[in-house]
Symmetry: C2
Subunit: 202 residues, 2 copies
């Protein structure tokens, strides 16, 4: 099957959205915890986390104004802090449910049944019991001219993870914990290991 | 286990690199095919593909000057075109081997044993037989000030995929084809489906 640019433009809008989103492949499912200036907590699933650098430790997050609740972006910019939470594959239905468009001010924590927890006075809430919990500080907003997409660049402030998942060389064994993986708008997976490989040399 | 910013800064450099890279979670493994102005082909594995939009269909790709061969970035900017190729989990060792630092002008296609193929006069080479083959046009380069990382924004020109993998609503069933998933610098996986869920409503 071959689709050129003209074919893509001619596709039904919903079909194209599902096709292009899922075509981008597998990604980490991440629940982003935030809080409004008025103190209302928010939790939203994203699948657009990007590693930008290890020192300083920076992650990016893509916000598409049309498909992702704006509450998260708004909260991150007004408070300067947010949390990244990875949950188990067993929680995929609850995780997906955070993508529903609840009215601003309604907390997805309560609505979908994840318990919120605050750590050490950090402004944003975390998902209690999440396998990975990362405290993030907003660093830079980048507007992508081509289509109005926004990238949020954040620095890692703190990482909480069970020490048994961190291997001797630093590798985080997320598949051993059954961490949730996503693809496209609505598909969920766990990862089955093929193996790790030594540093490649010519 | 709890690591704050100071702890991260104090880590051994190699440990931190493995830790932060793998902490970013699972991602699509993508082989980027390109060609130099002199006609030398290049193939490099990336795990930083991002969906930016469906109409126009735009994908981003993060280049970290320190860890990713500069040949790819150079080629994309000089020719304006590149290919994205997803391969089977069975090919994970060959895919990883493209990350070796071969001298500029040496083609990873030959070195690792993927066959290169050109389609319809499109400038950049593809991986013959790759499960997904996407022809991309360079649109915009975004420099992330915070750490010098570069995001390449590209538009999809053509998609080649077996029609049996595209479901009635447009979803691309990559897990059915055993498409390769990666994490961190050296870990490889396939995805095991939990399920797809209906559009979430409050």
């Amino acid at each position: 099957m071959q689709l050129n640019q003209q074919d893509l433009t001619g596709l039904d809008k919903e079909f194209r959205r599902a096709f292009i989103n899922s075509l981008a492949g597998f990604r980490q499912a991440v629940l982003v915890g935030s809080i409004s200036a008025e103190g209302k907590t928010n939790l939203a699933i994203f699948n657009s986390l990007i590693h930008l650098g290890a020192n300083p430790a920076l992650f990016g997050l893509i916000n598409r104004p049309d498909t992702v609740p704006r509450d998260t972006l708004q909260n991150i910019q007004s408070t300067g802090f947010y949390s990244l939470n990875y949950v188990s594959g067993a929680d995929y239905q609850k995780a997906h449910q955070t993508s529903a468009r609840y009215p601003t001010g309604v907390s997805e924590f309560e609505q979908v049944g994840f318990e919120e927890v605050f750590h050490d006075g950090f402004a944003a809430p975390f998902v209690a019991g999440a396998i990975v919990q990362i405290a993030m500080k907003f660093e830079e907003r980048i507007d992508i001219q081509r289509n109005g997409t926004v990238m949020i660049v954040g620095s890692i402030q703190e990482v909480r993870i069970d020490h048994s998942l961190v291997e001797a060389d630093g590798f985080v064994n997320l598949s051993a914990a059954g961490v949730l993986v996503s693809q496209g708008l609505d598909a969920y997976f766990t990862a089955s290991p093929l193996g790790r490989l030594p540093y490649a040399k010519p």
